[in-house]
């Protein structure tokens, strides 16, 4: 037997090399993250030293006069993302319950699931185009009809497109969470005479709620950092938004809009500081989501 006589030393060496390889790729990922973080930190040092904490609450962003305050963008980011979340949550929860509990098998289910994955994979510039050509004219008509200044572009249009973009993502997270509810428990509830709706309401949702909440947080992180589609639709205004229909800017969209023209060192550094804030906020929401899933999902 040639296999039996293979030297054990060789096998062990291969095993050890493989482990090393895995370790290196793991460290590489961490290194990348730290590298991005320190680059952002170093590049924004000038702005941090110049503007200090007031950067966070200063409401004027005027590159010409070199006054840099992030408040309009923080506000713009929060309003668009929260609005997008409010629009998307009912749909994504309904969708995940539908796919997880009602449409459990069959061709229809695969079609639905496939479409959901496809939606998640559409490049955001296409969402942006669709928003500009289809949604913005509709929103403009709507704004005219209710008598507000009709920009078409602005927070409202961005939030609708953002909502469409995060629905597939958050629906697939909650679908996964719902599929973690043990079949045992559903059967136990049914055997006590519960209807499918009662099973959802009183067994599945209580079991899955923390996971679904975590999914919402993770989707929020997504919405905050979405750049392309929002840049196209939000109207590029550096003023504090006054209504849901105002043009505005988010952290991501102002960077995309202004990065190419930032020639002065302080201007550039201030934009990088915006990126640093964005980096922190998205990291926090993503970590928080994961933590909640790990910590609060009931164990059987």
């Amino acid at each position: 037997m040639s296999n039996g006589s293979r030297p054990i030393l060789f096998v062990e060496l291969k095993e050890r090399l493989f482990k090393k390889l895995l370790l290196v790729s793991g460290l590489l990922a961490i290194g990348l993250l730290l590298g991005i973080f320190f680059t952002l930190l170093m590049e924004s040092m000038l702005s941090i030293r110049e503007t200090g904490v007031s950067f966070l609450y200063q409401s004027i962003w005027d590159p010409v006069r070199e006054t840099f305050g992030a408040w309009p963008f923080l506000l713009g980011t929060m309003i668009t993302s929260v609005l997008a979340l409010i629009i998307s949550v009912p749909f994504s929860f309904a969708l995940s319950l539908f796919l997880g509990e009602y449409l459990k098998e069959g061709a229809f289910r695969s079609v639905f699931n496939g479409m959901l994955d496809l939606l998640a994979g559409i490049p955001s510039i296409i969402y942006g185009f669709w928003g500009l050509f289809v949604l913005v004219p509709m929103v403009r008509d709507f704004e005219n009809s209710i008598g507000v200044l009709a920009h078409g572009v602005g927070i409202f249009s961005s939030s609708i497109v953002l909502a469409l973009m995060i629905i597939p993502y958050s629906a697939s997270i909650s679908r996964e969470v719902i599929s973690l509810v043990p079949q045992d428990l559903k059967e136990a509830a049914l055997s006590l005479g519960a209807t499918p709706w009662e099973v959802i309401q009183k067994v599945i949702l209580p079991y899955a709620k923390s996971g679904m909440f975590a999914g919402v947080l993770m989707s929020f992180g997504r919405a905050i950092s979405e750049t392309m589609a929002v840049t196209m639709l939000i109207g590029n205004s550096n003023k504090i938004p006054t209504s849901l229909f105002s043009p505005a800017n988010t952290l991501a969209s102002v960077i995309a809009n202004e990065f190419a023209e930032a020639s002065e060192a302080l201007y550039l550094s201030s934009l990088v500081e915006l990126a640093l804030i964005l980096f922190f906020v998205t990291a926090i929401f993503s970590l928080l989501g994961r933590y909640i899933i790990k910590k609060w999902m009931p164990v059987q």
Partner: protein, 254 residues
């Protein structure tokens, strides 16, 4: 044996899943306040038969049932499954108390799930009564508001029995209720089943031949989807009429 009134009569019952004929022309009656054991090798359809009795098989896609299962003369296959399940309780292989609920709420979960409102006094009475019937009261009375999942496996299974009994079912189905438990917990459950039969009709699926002989009054032997033999447990274990039954009982197969 004196035959007393039957609670459930299965007549000419067939079950198909897609083109597979799982249960073939089953005829048997279950008697009031008796323990009936359903035995047979793996895959013979015994769980499927029991799960037809509370319409849990409705969840399987491609399932087709014909014939009759008469619960007090009414064909439960034609009744609303929700109503059937309130009358026919079930305990599963693995203990499955609701992890989001306390012991107290687990016992009452059938009422919560069905949206039935109870007064505080009614709740107390149902909880105490059901836990006493399930021989769990003494062990949990000082911690009723702890989560049910903190109990041991055997206690959890008795909690599941209490939960089923709380709905005051006509029939209690037990689908291999001790297969996930250790020998000591198994003995507790077996003792409990014997106590319970004065209160409710019990139909139990079991893999365990010894268990069937210890606690059942009647035994049905299923093989490849057919009912081979059905008789008093004593008769089946001492003078089985069919060689298949005898071979199974003497552990020649299965």
């Amino acid at each position: 044996m004196t035959v007393n009134t039957s609670v459930l009569d299965v007549q000419g019952f067939n079950l198909h899943i897609n083109e597979h004929h799982i249960l073939k022309d089953i005829n048997l009656s279950f008697y009031r306040k008796k323990v009936t054991a359903i035995m047979g090798p793996s895959g013979c359809g015994k769980s499927t038969l029991v799960r037809s009795m509370n319409r849990l098989n409705d969840l399987i896609s491609g399932v087709r049932m014909d014939g009759g299962m008469y619960l007090y003369k009414k064909n439960l296959l034609e009744m609303n499954p929700i109503l059937v399940r309130r009358k026919v309780g079930m305990v599963f292989q693995r203990p499955n108390p609701f992890p989001t609920m306390s012991i107290y709420d687990n016992v009452l979960s059938g009422y919560y799930l069905n949206g039935i409102k109870l007064t505080k006094a009614e709740k107390e009475e149902i909880v105490v009564d059901s836990l006493e019937k399930a021989a769990l009261w003494d062990e949990v009375k000082n911690g009723l508001h702890r989560k049910g999942t903190f109990l041991s496996g055997g206690q959890q299974q008795r909690l599941c029995i209490a939960r089923a009994l709380a709905m005051k079912p006509k029939i209690l189905l037990l689908d291999e209720p001790t297969s996930a438990l250790d020998p000591k917990a198994t003995t507790r459950i077996e003792e409990l089943i014997i106590e319970l039969k004065s209160k409710v009709t019990i139909i139990m699926v079991t893999h365990n031949i010894g268990q069937a002989s210890r606690i059942s009054d009647m035994t049905a032997f299923l093989y490849l989807g057919e009912l081979i033999e059905y008789d008093c447990t004593d008769t089946i274990f001492t003078t089985p009429k069919h060689t298949r039954t005898e071979e199974y009982l003497t552990r020649k197969f299965g």
